[in-house]
Point group: C2
Chain length 264, copies 2
DNA sequence: CGGCCTTTTGAGGCTACTCAAAGCCGGTGG
DNA sequence: CCACCGGCTTTGAGTAGCCTCAAAAGGCCG
């Protein structure tokens, strides 16, 4: 079900850069050096290296995982953004969350069951591949990593909770605003945006609509109205917020804490 | 913040039953003997016993955990049902999930942050109390339990996902139907209902509304219409479904697998 | 230039909301 | 025992937010 190009199996003819390394060593993991994350200690780094099976790249728009399939793997997003969604038989679909660097993919589903959702790359993305079966070993040998695993699962849950509250209780304008500030904050917390309150995010209005439980047309009108009002300036591919404080208030969003995130 | 009566600190004067035991030993845990659950092996049972700090009881309607507070504990529901919800400043609230026997309370929130939600007992309930800090130990000594912990978190997430899809994509009638069959299935899977497609569930229509993102009035009308149609017969406190298959179809619900659930 | 995808705008209709008030039921107290 | 009260449910009436259908106007790419 994986359709991504396997890094390292691709021949780079006469590129200036030599691509003889198939897989990024964990020691050189981009997350490891990103100061939004708490770096792994030497011994854990070594362990994760032994745990890491592979590395895959997906182009924007590619399906990383497909609902109904099985996945024997667990992935960590190294780079890029993705959406996770569930489709109904009649074509309706609900985007349930966005995936940012450091997020684990595959934790969400049950372990033996079919996947309950699909994952699609929003931007070009690189993922780390771990086996899912023997991560008893991970817990046994490095309880701290097990703890981090649970931490990540808990955070993912908190995010879902936030979206559920939004879709269940807020008006269209509040939902859009909430999503906008949430995305910016999330991007900031995972090191893919700076404090300029600006984010390049190649997402269509149809996707925003599917995330917020609104129709495409109404999403479009709501975006327009928020733009005219100066609250949220979300043009295709480019999200900006002038007055962050005001937007947070209106969208009833409480920012994520400052602490560094763990990753695996 | 805990307002529940501490079992064992209550004096039972001249009751016929002697209440000299403060806490149910894990060996006699109701979940252990319930055939909806996979019983713990002897050594794990022993470990959990050493892990168990206390046991608390709450009466119907009592608050088990309050949004904004801290919780140094992790709880397993031994008996009863509860709702987990998040409130907004202006009084709106969204119920994000129902808790059934065997569910863990406290996993959802982050670990050091304030709680992002409240938990309220729907029926009289009993909970097991575990310390949250040193469950590194749990992972280290019993990776299998760590695995189960993650399994439970994953299932909780899948449930939230289901609710999000419902609230985001389905019509009022579909939402009510989905919730009804989900509750029945959940009750069946945790041993508090038999196969009669009937459930005693003391929940108000206002709570149903807050779960589904609908207004109270519209929830009431929708319930009425589904009752007249014979799809879902949900009278106050008593939920019945005549034709389970038809209801599942209409609510787009896929039943939980038959396998036994782990618990901690 | 033509085709495809996305965004934008218009018009009309339905679902679900708000406000309002009446019935119901269980509990409490005179 | 009955009156009263508070919480929950039920019903009515009018409205608004959001939806659907439809079509035109941008971009991007071969």
């Amino acid at each position: 079900m994986r359709t991504g190009k396997e890094i390292g199996k691709v021949k780079y003819g006469d590129s200036a850069v030599t691509m003889d390394r198939k897989i990024t060593p964990c020691r050189e993991c981009p997350l490891q050096s990103c100061d939004a994350f708490r770096p792994l200690s030497e011994d854990k780094l070594e362990f994760m290296q032994s745990f890491k099976e592979d590395e895959v790249a997906y182009a924007r728009g590619e399906i990383i995982a497909a609902q109904g399939g099985k996945s024997p793997h667990l992935n960590t997003m190294l780079e890029g953004m993705a959406i996770r969604y569930r489709s109904l038989d009649d074509g309706r679909r609900q985007i349930v969350n966005f995936m940012f660097p450091g997020d684990l993919i595959g934790l969400q589903g049950a372990f033996d069951d079919d996947l309950s959702h699909s994952v699609e790359a929003l931007t070009d993305a690189r993922l780390c591949v771990f086996p899912r079966n023997d991560f008893h070993r991970l817990m046994g040998e490095h309880p701290r990593l097990g703890y981090d695993l649970v931490w990540l699962a808990a955070k993912e849950e908190t995010a879902l909770e936030g979206h559920l509250v939004s879709v269940g209780q807020r008006t269209a304008r509040e939902r859009v605003t909430f999503l906008a500030v949430w995305l910016l904050d999330r991007a900031l917390a995972t090191g893919i945006a700076d404090k300029s309150n600006r984010l390049d995010i190649p997402i269509t209005q149809a996707q925003i609509a599917d995330m917020l439980g609104l129709s495409l047309v109404h999403t479009n009108r709501t975006l327009k109205s928020l733009r005219e009002e100066g609250l949220v300036d979300w043009k295709p591919g480019d999200l900006r917020i002038e007055d962050m404080k005001k937007a947070c208030d209106f969208g009833q969003y409480t920012p994520i804490g400052e602490g560094k995130r763990p990753f695996i």
